[in-house]
Symmetry: C2
């Protein structure tokens, strides 16, 4: 098992990475000492792993809440259902909300933990690659609104993140690939050497080579933990983690969270961000080519739906990255280096959007 | 104008107390610099003050959201309505949520500000005595659930609290009286001299003598600010502010938030807490008499509804003060001194509840 720590003073917490962790009663009870547990999962993951997890936690009172699968269920209504379950089961302030699932389950369960009784303990057991490398770490929780993604949420750090790599064995290929988009993101924004490594190991990653996956997860979490430790509430640097997300959220929202997985939308969005960076003269064309090629080799769709540039612009206006009416975008200045900028000609943004969205 | 500061490091903020503050464009724009404002109020307060406030903020884009009046509307559904308004009006992360109303409006608007885009700026303009001395200060925000009061919420400090004492002129007598319960609370938990002062000035307060009211508000806010500064997240001392609230919440919840005002329920709850403290042998009977007499002179109802001790006990089980299955109660050890205790015989609690609730 590998472990690293998200350094946040009194709210620091470990990320544990390894195979078979959810079967270890010793490990789990060490990190999850709470007596009362609301186990939040979904209809796909719960049948696979909930019973095993419960078996490994024999001394807790565990109440299971199983939600329908999918980003379109990450709503305030689903949160309300979980509050009802917590209250119906008389869970107190000392209860634990335990998220067993992907990013949707983690974001939703995290939001519920943040708000129940003004905050109860949260633990994340991410079951997708995307959740293991990104959404389970860093304390961002949220639900979606028909008007935009993650518009209702809270910062609420977990007590522990348990990334059991064996859980990825049941992950559909498409979900694994979607997770690779976020892995590539870390290379793009922070670590050119890691980007090189991903280029060299993309086939191994897609073939689920355990050593390659473990390294990708560890290095991704390490980069995320560093950034979150320096800027927990996204007042600066943390915004870099949103590379591709503004465009990606527009794709997800416009398609009703039905057709595109989050990671897929982020992948397509990163290519648009790279293209825009090139059009602004701050990124060489060869770098954009390498991004496009790696996304393709990862199996990601790189052609966004033909939403139309105007529709995308309108949706971007509601993204959380808007300040003083202007969309702040994450752009690349090299492979391994990103910046946040609101200083771009609107015409270049429009041309870029027209090129990708029609 | 008097002012004091809630000392919370980077999140410190002023409480401004004075007459006519909401008409001062200079003061308001100094403290509310945001361009986009969601003004949250209710059907009683908005017709009285919203237009005046808007007039004093001529350069802001103000969107008004007017909710029905009353604690039973402090729900997740009302919060959802406000999120809809924020999103329909394309309010960004740099927007301000401005609460103009009593505790219900402040708690609800505060919760919405806490969660919208994971937190936007909040300002409180409390219009009831209760909100001016208590709920607008300290960053507790929440909505109710049919299963219990304030079960869904967040800690989210405002940027400023503007307590305009002139707004109390339109407050119904019953609401003023309900606010006096919280004023009395500060004397009981922290300041015997202030309790004496309230005893001496209770008629002046009920007659809305401006100097008496201003002193009561200032001293109440001062005590609250001190306690919040030392224990923002209620890990210890701040729980003392809940004197009477566990019993009071049971009254409010059992009666569907319809018959008892929050302050009235707290008043009755404080007398029960004092009585329990006496039965536990830690408070002299003369002190309980003084509490009862002052609550009566304030015009507060001191006989709770005949809910039955068992029903109240069951409702207390869901209160946020429960830890490891045991209700932690705020008790008095003297006039001006309180403590939190889970160390009492159940039989004495039951006798006390039976004496008050039947």
């Amino acid at each position: 098992m590998h472990s690293l720590t998200v350094q946040l003073g009194a709210r620091s917490y470990p990320i544990l990475i390894g195979s078979g962790l959810i079967d270890s009663t010793e490990l789990l009870t060490q990190h999850l000492p709470q007596r009362d547990v609301l186990l939040v999962s979904n209809t796909v993951v719960a049948p696979l792993y909930a019973a095993r997890l419960q078996q490994a936690l024999p001394n807790q009172r565990i109440v299971e809440a199983v939600l329908p699968d999918g980003e379109r269920h990450k709503t305030l209504e689903s949160a309300a259902r979980l509050f009802d379950v917590l209250i119906a089961n008389r869970m107190g302030r000392d209860a634990l909300v335990l998220a067993l699932g992907g990013g949707v389950v983690g974001d939703l369960a995290g939001f519920v933990a943040a708000c129940y009784q003004r905050g109860v303990a949260l633990a994340q057991i991410p079951t997708t690659l995307l959740a293991q490398v990104d959404s389970s770490v860093g304390g961002k929780t949220a639900v979606n609104h028909p008007g935009g993604k993650n518009l209702i949420g809270a910062f609420h750090q977990p007590e522990v993140v348990i990334a059991d790599t064996a859980l990825l064995n049941t992950l559909p290929d498409r979900e694994l690939t979607a997770g690779l988009a976020e892995v590539i993101k870390y290379g793009l924004i922070r670590d050119a050497g890691f980007f090189d490594w991903i280029e060299q190991h993309i086939e191994a990653l897609r073939a689920r080579d355990p050593a390659a996956l473990a390294h990708a997860i560890y290095r991704s979490c390490e980069i995320k933990a560093e950034i979150v430790a320096r800027d927990e509430r996204e007042q600066g640097e943390r915004a870099l983690l949103n590379l591709g997300h503004t465009f990606g959220h527009a794709i997800e929202t416009a398609t009703g969270y039905r057709e595109w997985l989050h990671g897929e939308a982020v992948g397509a969005g990163m290519l648009i961000a790279a293209d825009l960076s090139e059009r602004l003269g701050q990124l060489p064309a060869t770098a954009v080519q390498r991004v496009r090629s790696l996304l393709r080799r990862a199996g990601l769709p790189i052609e966004p739906p033909r939403l139309g540039a105007e529709c995308v612009l309108a949706r971007m206006g509601l993204d959380k990255k808007v300040q003083a009416g202007r969309v702040r975008l994450v752009l690349l200045t090299a492979l391994g280096r990103a910046c946040v900028s609101a200083d771009y000609p609107d015409s270049v943004l429009q041309q870029t959007l027209a090129a990708h969205f029609g």
